[in-house]
């Protein structure tokens, strides 16, 4: 199994900024643990594990971004948000990052806060907001679901990549001067392509799962107007 690193590694961002983001990430994860506990039932537990395993495998696919020497990869945030919901989804991504950092040296341990903020917090939040919005707007058909998954994946990947640019601006260990805009541009364009690939994978996976086992798609569970709907509340139907 040949793996390449792609998360922020030690020494790219300076200590104080890394520490600030570690606090942000820790707070966000603590909240996700609280909310996730309520979500994690007998159906979601194995699904969460599988989603995490899937992300773990998928994140090993890497695309080098030649000009800056930074590489990009699939994030899988939208897939996680779609199948297990935002809270457990964020935890899945965080677990993947922690295990990668601890035993694969992929992404520095001291930079975990930055990586978790980008991929587990920003990535999932953007993806889930888009999913919640688009599922209400678009027709409830496989095509609508596919478009939702595609757009959520694409946008969340690009926004998460911009998170890195922001962090680099705040605490990059080397002052790039005017080249920071170049870094932003490279990251945006390359992650646009990665986002397209990720969007396609997310859409095919989610549509297949929704066709065969719609009960497994978290995003659809909250929306589905059950025939015998006695409680017409928007949120906690289940």
């Amino acid at each position: 199994m040949e793996t390449l690193a792609m998360h922020i590694s030690n020494g790219i961002i300076d200590g104080p900024v890394a520490a600030v983001f570690a606090v942000i990430a820790l707070a966000a994860m603590a909240y996700c643990v609280m909310r996730g506990r309520q979500d994690l039932d007998d159906r979601l537990a194995p699904m969460a594990g599988l989603v995490a395993a899937f992300l773990f495998a998928v994140q090993m696919l890497n695309f080098p971004i030649f000009t800056a020497g930074v590489s990009g990869h699939l994030l899988g945030g939208a897939l996680a948000a779609m199948l297990v919901g935002p809270w457990v989804g964020a935890l899945c991504v965080a677990v993947v990052l922690v295990v990668q950092a601890l035993v694969f040296g992929d992404g520095g341990v001291a930079m975990l806060g930055l990586n978790i903020t980008n991929m587990a917090v920003i990535g999932i939040a953007v993806a889930y907001l888009l999913i919640a919005l688009l599922l209400r707007v678009l027709p409830r058909s496989p095509a609508g679901l596919a478009v939702t998954a595609f757009v959520a994946a694409l946008v969340s990947v690009v926004v998460a990549a911009m998170g890195f640019v922001l962090q680099y601006q705040l605490g990059g260990t080397t002052d790039l001067g005017g080249n920071l805009a170049g870094l932003a541009g490279t990251m945006a364009v390359s992650h646009l392509f990665i986002g397209i690939g990720e969007g396609l994978i997310t859409a095919t996976t989610v549509v297949t799962v929704a066709k065969v086992r719609p009960d497994l798609v978290y995003a659809l569970r909250a929306l589905k107007p059950v025939a015998s709907a006695t409680a017409p509340t928007v949120g906690g139907v289940r």
Partner: protein, 259 residues
């Protein structure tokens, strides 16, 4: 690989018996994280400090019977960042120096050194942890470090289902080939991409059966104590493992004081 335990071991685990292998996992995780933080906190101008860290890594590697060649080969994981580092002296702003006919940024040179040195030391530290701790022990260690149960649960299933996922992929590929598909090189991707949704479902249904079987055998979200193997760390073991991060911390503090 040791027969029964093979499924739980991972690619990076070196199954030997050494003083480092015998340390409880929670101690090793804590030491590794503390060491990495000390390394990252070191000012990049203190070149000597990184030499001391490398020496510490070498000593632990020798104790753990991990050979240098394996460690170096596995370090290629950080190659993309090395490339980024190489670009920095050219991209960096500010003061510039003339070096071998090249016009380089001083800040960029230090930046490149910073990334390569800290990145490499971090990778070595995690590789040593991986080489001496099986994934099962890793989760036991996280559990003992008071990691929320929901996280260790997801991690347990993730590591368990990775094998399921790999197994299903292999089975589906065999099935395609036996039905006349003749995948070569990149064209394998087409069949794989078309089947990715099916792969996910098959893996899930298999995983669900595993999960239900576990539930019916008394699984409550936490692995039974028998499974946890070795006892929790003694004070002595904590003290032994603390030597490395304490040394690294002292070096970092000295480096900060000197610069």
């Amino acid at each position: 690989m040791t027969g029964v335990g093979a499924g739980h071991a991972h690619v990076l685990y070196r199954a030997t018996n050494s003083p480092v292998h015998r340390l409880p996992p929670e101690v090793k995780i804590a030491a590794m994280v503390a060491f990495t933080i000390a390394v990252v906190a070191t000012p990049r101008e203190a070149l000597w400090a990184f030499g001391v860290y490398a020496l510490l890594v070498a000593v632990v590697a020798a104790l753990a019977r991990v050979n240098a060649r394996w460690l170096l080969l596995r370090s290629t994981i950080e190659l993309p960042f090395v490339l980024f580092a190489v670009a920095l002296p050219f991209l960096g702003a500010g003061e510039r120096v003339e070096l071998a006919g090249l016009h380089l940024s001083v800040d960029g040179l230090y930046g490149a050194w910073n990334i390569i040195a800290k990145g490499t030391l971090g990778v070595w530290a995690s590789l040593l942890l991986a080489a001496t701790t099986s994934t099962r022990d890793l989760i036991v260690g996280l559990d003992r470090l008071r990691c929320p149960q929901i996280l260790t649960q997801i991690a347990t299933f993730m590591l368990r289902y990775l094998d399921v996922l790999v197994g299903e992929t292999r089975r589906m590929r065999l099935a395609r080939i036996s039905r006349g598909d003749d995948p070569r090189f990149v064209w394998q991707l087409r069949g794989f991409a078309a089947g990715i949704g099916a792969l996910f479902l098959r893996a899930f249904e298999r995983g669900e059966r595993v999960y239900l079987a576990m539930l019916s055998r008394g699984y409550t979200g936490r692995m039974p104590t028998v499974w946890q193997g070795s006892a929790t760390a003694t004070t002595g073991q904590w003290l032994i493992a603390a030597t490395v991060p304490v040394l690294a911390g002292t070096v970092a503090a000295t480096a900060v004081a000197l610069t």
